[in-house]
């Protein structure tokens, strides 16, 4: 018997609300399957399965808000027999036949009558409460504390607070230095044009994918831009997980990761990127995507500004900003020509690197963009 508990879906998450089950009792599941969708302050996130087995019963109803660690469902291990399961802590839960939804079942725990009444009045779910009475009994005080702590489900306000905290921390702790360079994109745009000519619309590449690829490759060669600054020391990361800052409609932003971008082709990165943007906008991200970017890239888009000087996401140590690609007057071989140009900026952590290193990193990104066919 495996008990699946609500995992922490991010460093700042201590509870979640079950939105929907993706499995039913009797379903065979394996590692990587999506069991449920849980709402958090940042987004609705998938809860993945880490084991193989058969769903025995579901312990939580959709709509419930629960603490991280709350048992959500039980799995039969391969070969395990339903008859061997200890009587569920659920009143009269029969071993459910497949395809029949089991009655929503809550773990039965001692609850004082006064607490039960109060919970009812305050519309607090008893299942989400850690009892402090004898045998974990839920007391009146526990119910009232839970009602107090109940978060308002105003995601926009929650997100504003998260961003405020993260950015304040960054500006308080990280001595940023900034650098800027203009990069001509004739080669990159021409390469894209000819590459996309032969591709169906679903396979076409956007400039953003080239930027991500160039940043990832440069970050791999400049390890002092890629990793985390924790406990007064820098821990470089071998893989380059590029966080893409994605604005949310209605305000706020999230920077989920494109994993191991240094090992992916431009086409793979493009596929990941459009998938990531679609899921971010739909509020459906996986936990690891939110948790672990090693460097962030922010691009305010091609209808936007010339340059962006970003704020590093602690504990990362660098952020690359991509401005709008515009045609500008550019001197090439002694002549002024019209040239698509982008302004790229670097915000880096001066505890980890110096201006010289930053300049080399930035120049490396620019240089790579001159040879898109090699990216």
């Amino acid at each position: 018997m495996i008990e699946v508990k609500l995992p922490s879906l991010g460093a700042d998450m201590d509870e979640g609300t079950l939105l929907e089950w993706r499995v039913h009792p009797g379903d065979e599941v394996s590692k990587g399957d999506i069991l449920a969708v849980v709402d958090t302050t940042k987004a609705a996130l998938d809860v993945e399965c880490w084991h193989s087995g058969k769903v025995f019963d579901l312990l939580v109803e959709p709509g419930r808000t629960m603490k991280v660690g709350t048992p959500m469902l039980r799995l039969l291990e391969p070969g395990e027999n339903a008859a061997s399961i200890p009587p569920a802590r659920v009143p009269a839960a029969p071993a459910p036949p497949p395809a029949v939804t089991a009655p929503p079942a809550a773990a039965r725990r001692p609850v004082s009558p006064a607490a039960r009444r109060r919970a009812d009045e305050l519309k607090v779910s008893l299942d989400s409460i850690q009892g402090t009475g004898p045998d974990g009994a839920v007391t009146l005080k526990d119910v009232e504390a839970a009602a107090q702590a109940r978060p308002g489900r105003d995601r926009a306000a929650d997100m504003r607070r998260l961003i405020a905290a993260a950015m304040s921390r960054s500006k308080r702790e990280i001595p940023h230095y900034y650098q800027t360079d203009d990069v001509p994109l004739a080669a990159a745009t021409e390469w894209l044009r000819t590459t996309n000519l032969g591709r169906p619309i679903t396979e076409r590449i956007l400039l953003a994918a080239l930027f991500i690829r160039a940043v990832a490759e440069a970050a791999r060669r400049h390890p002092d831009m890629n990793g985390f600054y924790v406990a007064d020391e820098f821990r470089p990361s071998a893989p380059v997980h590029v966080g893409m800052a994605i604005a949310l409609r209605g305000g706020g932003l999230i920077a989920p990761a494109i994993h191991s971008a240094e090992q992916k082709s431009v086409t793979e990165i493009m596929r990941d990127l459009s998938d990531l943007v679609a899921r971010t906008r739909a509020g459906k991200l996986r936990r690891d995507e939110l948790a672990d970017p090693t460097i962030t890239l922010t691009s305010l888009g091609d209808e936007s500004v010339r340059a962006v000087h970003g704020v590093i996401y602690a504990p990362q140590v660098a952020l690359v900003g991509i401005g709008q690609v515009r045609e500008r007057a550019w001197v090439s071989n002694g002549a002024v020509v019209a040239m698509p140009v982008v302004t790229i900026t670097l915000a880096a952590d001066h505890r980890v690197s110096d201006g010289h290193a930053g300049a080399r990193f930035l120049a490396d990104i620019g240089e790579r963009l001159q040879h898109p066919e090699k990216l």
Partner: protein, 95 residues
């Protein structure tokens, strides 16, 4: 295809990318991307959904012709194959 139906289908697809779009607020003659705040990936996803739904292939060189909702409607009306046995021009006389 009926133009009104096409417009409403397009708004449906647009709302998948930008759920808060209010059809009443949308100016069909104005450029879409700034009005609705679509970045290049949103716009590409919108075009991909058009491609899937209407089976019309849109070369990249045509993207710049597709600035407003009106642009997209007239582009599609020109490009769309008459549905088999459907209500294309060829079959209107038969109805």
């Amino acid at each position: 295809m009926d133009e009104r139906q096409l417009r409403s289908d397009l708004i449906g697809l647009l709302q998948r990318v930008a759920p808060e779009v209010d059809p009443g607020e949308l100016d069909a003659a104005e450029p879409l991307r700034r009005q609705v705040d679509l970045d290049s990936i949103d716009f590409l996803n919108f075009l991909i959904s058009i491609n899937r739904q209407f089976k019309v292939s849109i070369p990249e060189s045509d993207y710049e012709k597709l600035r407003s909702l009106d642009d997209i409607v007239s582009y599609l009306l020109k490009a769309m194959p008459a549905p088999s046995g459907g209500s294309g021009k060829a079959s209107t006389s038969a109805v």
